[in-house]
């Protein structure tokens, strides 16, 4: 009994640094997006072309979907803390489905952009930047979906509650970050539409 208590205490102690690892990774990712948006400003502010694109509405819908997915993920976290396993699984799955829908909407956004004759490979690199922003963000979404999968998978294994909670926390830190970074990119593009 004593031994088990020590074990658990140490477990928690050694999970904390790993959570911190995720925070640092979030900082590193943020720097990529900061660099890309600064690149856009240097390009468009210099001799480069302006964007001159009215963003299609589909990006507004995808933003909505991503925000809702953050809400469902929050509900999943709450369910985990209350140890309501079935609710927890439901909300994680819901978050993942919304994530996939977001992914699809972004790709469809690309299709609509090409129909508007706005291509990735074209002399106006401001327009190429739209694809770079969304593309690099989608790569992160894939990573986020993998983290959510691992969080969901853990609930089906006989793992201690601390591990289940930890996996979900890791996934939530990253997923909420992706939500915020997408809003940042979207607002950035909206402000630079002209």
């Amino acid at each position: 009994m004593m031994m088990a208590q020590i074990q658990q205490k140490e477990d928690r102690l050694s999970l904390q640094p790993k959570k911190f690892v995720m925070w640092l990774f979030v900082f590193a990712s943020f720097m990529i997006f900061a660099a890309l948006t600064s690149g856009f400003m240097v390009y468009a502010g210099g001799r480069g072309h302006a964007l001159n694109v009215i963003l299609p509405n589909i990006f507004m819908y995808s933003t909505g979907v991503l925000i809702i997915s953050s809400v469902t993920l929050f509900l999943a976290t709450r369910a985990t803390k209350r140890q309501e396993v079935s609710k927890q699984r439901l909300f994680i799955t819901l978050t993942m489905i919304l994530g996939v829908i977001f992914f699809g909407l972004q790709i469809d956004g690309w299709r609509i952009l090409t129909e508007m004759n706005i291509f990735f490979v074209e002399p106006n690199a401001s327009r190429s930047f739209i694809y770079i922003f969304t593309g690099v963000h989608l790569l992160h979404i894939i990573a986020g979906l993998l983290l959510l999968t691992s969080a969901l998978y853990t609930t089906y294994r006989s793992k201690p509650q601390s591990i289940i909670q930890f996996r979900l926390e890791i996934a939530s830190i990253f997923w909420h970050f992706l939500d915020i970074i997408w809003i940042y990119l979207y607002v950035f593009l909206l402000l630079n539409q002209n």
């Binding site: 790993k18 640092l24 240097v42």
Partner: protein, 627 residues
């Protein structure tokens, strides 16, 4: 994030350590998750890469010294890269590029931080391993993969990348521009993406370990300067490497997909290419936003290592411990706002150039603080000239003589004539090349017993290695200042063919021979290093009588570093030659209650109860001193 790791490191009882781990060869030596083994992997890979980069430099030095002679041996060795006994001019550019890339990234970033952050952070802060041992292992294997990809570019038809280690577009963005922009450049980019992934994984681990896993009593102000330096270096890496990723991603799209982020108005073979509006300067901004912090990523670990070694071997507390930490923090912060000084001649607004000039010159302040503190630490110390100490002093010497020329180059007006001349080459080879290499070598000599279970390297060979390398490094780089002042440009295949620079040929020959002697001296190091792993003299557990925690760990490598509990820390790491103590060092694990005769009132700054006990003791034992 693996559950295995969670269980492994939760164990704190003796017998568990002996029963838990049945390592196979693969898990012990290849895919090891133990920070000490990963440190060795980084070190040996780093040394291998350093030797390769050194040989490359000898090759292009031969070309510079003997531009008219033919060496049939070169053709035998290099084949199509050296037809008719002379280096191919484009291959010369590849040699310069890969030499720079390997030295800056693979040796002085991964080889230096990778080795010593991995070895020393857990051992000096008192942790059983890194925050995430699995990610740590991945970090090494990404580095190894990056090394292989980088070297593999020597085996493609057109040879390795040739646009310089800074790979400025448009040269690097147009595969048809030159031989070195084709497949070799693609491999360079792939290799660097892997390298950045490795660096980030390592850096994230170091920061998390330092902030979360310190042993009891080890507050931030009790950490050795090595740990401070590795910690701040890792932060710089986390913030700056992602920016290079962004820059490289855009470059890849320009190269392979036809976007115009960096390209505009390019005419090739009389044909106007469709790129428009792009800006090669944009790449320089993104590159140097990483590139400048990168030079501090290179030098700061070496500074930390030297601070520690100088204090240990001068048998004195480091002079100005807080100032040393704050100057590291100052350098780290300033390093992000000086990148423009690499771009003074890009047509930058003179006002902006002035701003970058001021920030650049301000960096001299914390750098000078460090230098003065090293010298003040040595001043009237009870110095032991071990090989490690000599190399640490060598770092101080190079850092001064290379740093002084930085003040010249940091001036936006002076930089115009000096830009891209040998003056710049001399400056950075002294201040970050030689200095950082000496810091790394100092670390290898000093912590060899920790790396390779209680063996020492041979001292006499160490002295020989130091003196030859030290003198030759000055002989190589010092004359370059004068070439630069005369306007000799860098990266030229045969600049002495120009009548204006003809008279520098004799100096070039001299430099080349100094470089060859320096390279030969490294053989003594390699022999010393590898033979000492197996046959080195046995060391005691604490061979240098040092205070830091790593010397309290058992000599043989055990998983989890300490048997039983991790030692508690009671004092800062620099209690050397403390008056009133019978030995000239007091390890961090010795509580103040055991050293009553040497305690001072300021040891109890935030400990009123301790101060009271101290005062009572002083009243009883040292009545003359109590007021």
């Amino acid at each position: 994030m693996s559950t295995v790791a969670v269980h492994d490191h939760s164990v704190s009882h003796d017998h568990d350590h002996e029963h838990h781990h049945h390592d196979t060869f693969i898990t012990k030596y290849v895919f090891s998750q133990d920070h000490k083994m990963i440190a060795k992997q980084f070190l040996i890979t780093g040394i291998t890469m350093a030797v390769i980069a050194m040989l490359l430099s000898i090759l292009f030095r031969i070309q510079l010294a003997y531009p008219d002679k033919t060496f049939p041996l070169l053709t035998t060795l290099l084949g199509r890269f050296a037809p008719n006994g002379r280096l191919d001019p484009e291959f010369y550019l590849s040699l310069v590029t890969i030499h720079g890339t390997i030295m800056v990234f693979f040796v002085l970033t991964a080889g230096l931080s990778g080795t010593f952050s991995n070895l020393l952070i857990p051992l000096q802060v008192g942790a059983r391993d890194m925050a995430s041992p699995f990610v740590n292992m991945l970090s090494y294997w990404f580095f190894f993969g990056a090394s292989i990809v980088m070297l593999s570019s020597f085996f493609v038809q057109k040879g390795p990348a040739g646009a310089g280690w800074t790979i400025y577009p448009p040269l690097s963005a147009l595969p048809k521009a030159m031989k070195g922009s084709e497949m070799g450049m693609t491999l360079w980019l792939i290799s660097m993406v892997m390298f950045i992934a490795s660096s980030l994984m390592g850096g994230i681990n170091y920061v998390s370990t330092v902030l979360n896993m310190r042993t009891k009593g080890m507050d931030l102000w009790k950490m050795p300067l090595t740990v401070w330096a590795f910690f701040l270096t890792a932060i710089l890496g986390i913030l700056s490497f992602p920016v290079l990723v962004a820059g490289v991603v855009l470059l890849i799209f320009d190269r392979s997909f036809g976007t115009s982020f960096y390209l505009s108005d390019i005419v090739m073979n009389g044909k106007l290419l469709p790129y428009s509006g792009g800006s090669p300067i944009l790449f320089q901004h993104l590159f140097w936003f990483l590139g400048h912090p990168e030079v501090y990523i290179v030098i700061m670990p070496a500074m930390g290592i030297s601070s520690e070694i100088i204090a240990v071997n001068a048998r004195k507390p480091i002079f100005g411990y807080h100032a040393m930490v704050y100057s590291l923090i100052g350098i780290s912060t300033l390093s992000f706002i000086v990148w423009g000084h690499h771009m003074f001649v890009t047509g930058m607004n003179p006002f902006l150039g002035g701003v970058f000039m001021i920030t650049t010159l301000i960096i001299a302040v914390p750098s000078a603080v460090k230098t003065f503190n090293w010298i003040a630490t040595i001043w009237r110390g009870n110095i032991r000239f071990t090989p490690a100490m000599l190399f640490a002093i060598g770092l101080v010497s190079f850092f001064i003589s290379g740093g002084v020329t930085g003040i010249f180059l940091g001036n936006s007006a002076l930089d115009i004539p000096l830009h891209d001349t040998y003056f710049v080459v001399a400056h950075f080879h002294l201040v970050m090349g030689s200095a950082a290499i000496f810091g790394m070598l100092a670390g290898v000599y000093h912590w060899f017993p920790k790396l390779f279970a209680g063996r020492l390297m041979d001292e006499k060979l160490g002295y020989f290695h130091f003196w030859v390398t030290f003198i030759c490094a000055y002989l190589v780089f010092f004359p370059m200042h004068f070439m630069g002042l005369d306007g000799v440009p860098r990266r030229y295949y045969a600049m002495t063919e120009f009548p204006a620079f003809n008279h520098w040929l004799s100096v070039n020959t001299f430099i080349t021979w100094a470089a060859i002697v320096a390279a030969l001296a490294q053989v003594s190091f390699l022999y010393n290093f590898f033979s000492s792993i197996f046959f080195g003299k046995r060391a005691t557990q604490n061979p240098w009588n040092a205070n830091t925690l790593e010397w309290t760990a058992p000599m043989e490598h055990i998983h989890g570093n300490w048997r039983g509990d991790i030692p508690t820390v009671y004092r800062w790491p620099y209690d050397y030659s403390k008056p009133g103590h019978d030995e000239d060092f007091i390890p961090q694990t010795v509580p103040l209650s055991e050293t009553m005769s040497s305690n001072l009132p300021h040891d109890f700054e935030d400990n009123p109860a301790g101060l009271e006990i101290y005062n009572e003791w002083a009243k009883a034992n040292r009545p003359s001193e109590v007021k």
